[in-house]
């Protein structure tokens, strides 16, 4: 056997595989050689025909459907139509070396974000020192006054963080987004792995792949580490909005795998600043809540009076230190895209370290040199107002009209402080089985990693959710846009 193989040797399924030189391909180098960490998988795949893949694909789909690993699609039918999150059988493989870099990077990043959140609810030193503009934080709708001066157990705020990364043309990983409110998707990571083990079990024998199965135990350990002090074993629960929430499968999955109750708001009540759940034997005290309900809905007394999902008075119990919430309320003030551009500075400020992971370069129009660059290179950039969300006001230079660009330039001149710009990032491609074509084609992917922080504990899930843009050429990987996912393998270090 040769060490290096040209992909054209792989008759059948990879025969017409098209390499796009504009992007990095995760599996093949530009001249068509299989990258070393993918060799064993391709050796195996060459024995399969397209029909074999179709069959395996169907098996995996039936397995997901029967397990109920689905999300609801609303329709006029009385009982909703359910779809599985499309799953691709070609695993995404991350080498031990790349992973060790990523893992150190996301821990560093999330530790720094944690210190930042603590600071903005206490001394606000980083704002006083002029590293991050105060108005950026105070104007955020996620900034929660109820958190001022409050110390959560272990001083941890973002217990669970989902960091979104992409691999750029230059071979480097870049952070796209920090999710420190209720990042979802981890159940798909574990379910994808189960499906892979059932369908392509032969692949696993030949690789030394790090396990993802310990995530629920690690999450429970993190929860227990931040429980309020008590003589008894802490009672931990997962709080869900209910069975009609699109992520209900995940909420149930996590509770089940941690062996703790899955509760809804109506199961809980607060009495004299303690939280209880209603059981068939009467009230039982609750100590730690992994809540999958957003801040505005968690306490109708403190936030949104119309919410029927939350528990009246829970924030009072929290501030008394009688119950711990994961993640802490108010973390959202640290994960919007305006704060994102300051994360490298935040890392340097609190940890006195160079950032391990790259941010996408961000031009701030308030800086003269950046301002001129943005005006001159608008076609190559994405320009965003810092104080808006949900995609409002964003201009993607490459697909904009001259009028739009001229109008935006006038707006920037009028208020330079309000605008940032970033280069248009090219997400890497990964070959993916395309059902309709019955062959493999390159599709853009990203990676969501999951980091857990507890009292003196850190853990990164060894893998993550690789999301795939199934539409040819699309850079949008969201499941709501028809995206799919891949099992993500982290190879063990060593030979």
């Amino acid at each position: 056997m040769n060490n290096v193989r040209n992909f054209e040797m792989y008759k059948g399924i990879f025969q017409d595989y098209h390499l796009n030189p504009a992007f990095l391909d995760e599996v093949f180098s530009l001249d068509g050689e299989v990258l070393p960490h993918y060799r064993l998988v391709l050796d195996q795949f060459k024995h399969f025909t397209a029909d074999d893949f179709k069959e395996l694909n169907e098996l995996a789909k039936v397995s997901f459907f029967n397990q109920g690993v689905t999300f609801a699609v609303y329709s006029d039918k009385a009982r909703g139509v359910e779809r599985i999150f499309p799953f691709d059988l070609f695993p995404r493989i991350i080498s031990a070396q790349d992973w060790s870099h990523l893992e150190r990077g996301v821990i560093q990043r999330n530790m720094a974000i944690n210190l930042f959140i603590q600071d903005i609810y206490h001394k606000k030193q980083i704002l006083r020192d002029g590293i991050v503009p105060p108005e950026l934080i105070f104007s955020s709708s996620h900034y929660t006054k109820a958190m001022l001066g409050f110390n959560p157990v272990g001083n941890i705020y973002n217990h669970i963080s989902g960091t979104d990364l992409i691999k750029h043309r230059d071979g480097q990983y870049y952070v796209l987004e920090d999710n420190v409110r209720c990042p979802s998707g981890v159940s798909y990571v574990l379910s994808n792995r189960e499906a892979m083990k059932k369908t392509l079990f032969n692949l696993f024998r030949k690789h030394n792949i790090l396990s993802v199965q310990d995530y629920p135990q690690q999450l429970l350990a993190i929860m227990q580490s931040v429980a309020p002090e008590s003589d008894n074993e802490p009672n931990c629960v997962v709080l869900t909005p209910g069975v009609y929430n699109s992520a209900y499968y995940e909420h149930a999955f996590l509770a089940l795998n941690m062996g703790i109750p899955l509760v809804e708001g109506r199961d809980l009540f607060v009495d004299r600043n303690y939280v209880y759940m209603k059981t068939i034997y009467g009230p039982q005290k609750v100590d730690v809540i992994y809540r999958r309900i957003d801040d505005p809905f968690i306490d109708p007394l403190a936030f949104n009076p119309d919410s029927v999902l939350g528990i009246p008075g829970i924030l009072g119990a929290y501030r008394e230190g009688n119950v711990t919430l994961l993640n802490a309320p108010g973390t959202g003030a640290a994960d919007d895209k305006a704060v994102y551009s300051y994360v490298p500075a935040i890392i340097k400020y609190y940890l006195d370290e160079e950032p391990i992971l790259n941010n996408v370069h961000t031009y701030r129009c308030e800086i003269d040199s950046d301002y001129h660059y943005v005006l001159e290179h608008m076609e190559e950039l994405v320009v965003k107002p810092v104080d808006e969300s949900g995609g409002y006001g964003i201009l993607v230079g490459s697909s904009s009209t001259r009028e739009q660009r001229e109008e935006l330039k006038r707006a920037i001149k009028a208020n330079r402080r309000k605008y940032i710009a970033q280069p248009i990032m090219s997400l890497s491609l990964h070959s993916t089985f395309i059902e309709d074509e019955n062959k493999f084609e390159g599709r853009h992917i990203d990676l969501r990693t999951y980091t857990l922080l507890g009292k003196d504990k850190q853990f990164v899930l060894k893998g993550g959710l690789s999301r795939v843009a199934l539409t040819k050429g699309s850079l949008v990987v969201n499941s709501s846009q028809g995206g799919g996912s891949k099992d993500t393998w982290v190879l063990a270090p060593g030979p």
């Binding site: 029967n66 209900y248 199961d267 209603k278």
Partner: protein
């Protein structure tokens, strides 16, 4: 255990048992009516199905006539009928979905798989498969689900509450089946009582309660009104008999150990104890004459028991 979860587990058990009985009753009556000698007999069989499920009025709101196709669709797949088998299976699945963190994956998967199976039926597929095959699928699914309840759950509150739902619903369905058949028999021309028409109805009763074979083994084919009612109401060893289920409920409620004074008249333990022991010390001679009235009263007591349980322990 959360009261809401307790409620869902209880109803999970009830819906499984209800779906099974509705399916079996419909199958037994419809299939046997196919070669019934008189058109009138067929009509009695169809009406009997509506009576047992308790949806006469609802059916006639929607349909002006009694036709096979309309009734069968209404009972099995009609979403707008809150007591149809499809609605029941939806109930089973919703309650299993809400209690995923308490039940076994095996139980969940069989429920989920079957829900999708039934959800994929339409009128044409139902026509093609026929009521016999459809009902048998439902009965087998319910048996499979109960098998997983039996074989994959710890004997804790989860299992006890599902079992409580199963046996309470079974007792109620038995009362309804017996009562419906007594009513069907009461409609027979008095001159023909004691003949083949009546004995045919008693056979239907035994088959609807899935007890035809066991009855014959037990009584060596000496079937009479008295023996059949005695078997279905008072046999302490047969799992489809009323008294067997009430004794089961009594033990089950004691085992769960709700926080209540056991001797107070209002307690669940007291009420189920009274009902179960009453049955143990009654004989068929005492109820034979007024069997229909006895069944109605027992059914009322069971409804009250279920309501008390929900109001006291399963509210959220």
């Amino acid at each position: 255990m959360l009261s809401r979860i307790g409620n869902s587990l209880f109803w999970l058990g009830r819906y499984i048992e209800r779906a099974e009985h509705v399916a079996r009753y419909t199958k037994v009556h419809y299939v046997s009516s196919l070669d019934a000698p008189l058109a009138q007999n067929k009509e009695i069989a169809l009406e009997s199905i509506l009576d047992m499920v308790g949806v006469q009025a609802a059916y006639y709101q929607k349909h002006s006539q009694l036709t096979d196709d309309d009734i069968l669709y209404f009972i099995t797949l009609d979403d707008t009928n809150p007591f149809s088998i499809a609605t029941n299976i939806n109930g089973i699945r919703e309650n299993a979905r809400g209690t995923r963190d308490s039940i076994s994956i095996e139980l969940w998967e069989v429920v989920n798989r079957f829900y999708h199976n039934v959800n994929n039926y339409n009128a044409a597929k139902f026509q093609h498969k026929g009521i016999f095959n459809f009902s048998r699928e439902v009965e087998e699914f319910c048996t499979l689900a109960k098998g997983y309840v039996s074989n994959t759950l710890i004997r804790n509150e989860v299992w006890m509450l599902i079992s409580l739902g199963i046996h309470l619903e079974r007792a109620m369905q038995l009362c309804k089946i017996i009562n419906t058949k007594l009513y069907d028999i009461a409609k027979i021309d008095p001159g023909k009582l004691g003949g083949p028409i009546e004995s045919y109805q008693w056979t239907m009763l035994l088959k609807s309660a899935e007890s035809f074979d066991m009855f014959n083994r037990h009584y060596k084919n000496s079937s009479s009104r008295r023996n059949i009612l005695d078997f279905l109401i008072f046999n302490p060893a047969f799992p489809k008999a009323l008294t067997y289920n009430l004794t089961y409920l009594q033990n089950n409620i004691q085992a769960i150990g709700f926080q209540e004074g056991a001797n107070t008249k209002g307690s669940l333990t007291f009420k189920i104890g009274k009902l179960a022991t009453q049955l143990q010390f009654l004989t068929i001679e005492e109820v034979e004459e007024n069997a229909a009235e006895f069944m109605t009263k027992t059914l009322d007591k069971l409804y009250n028991l279920a309501r008390l349980l929900e109001e006291k322990y399963l509210v959220y």
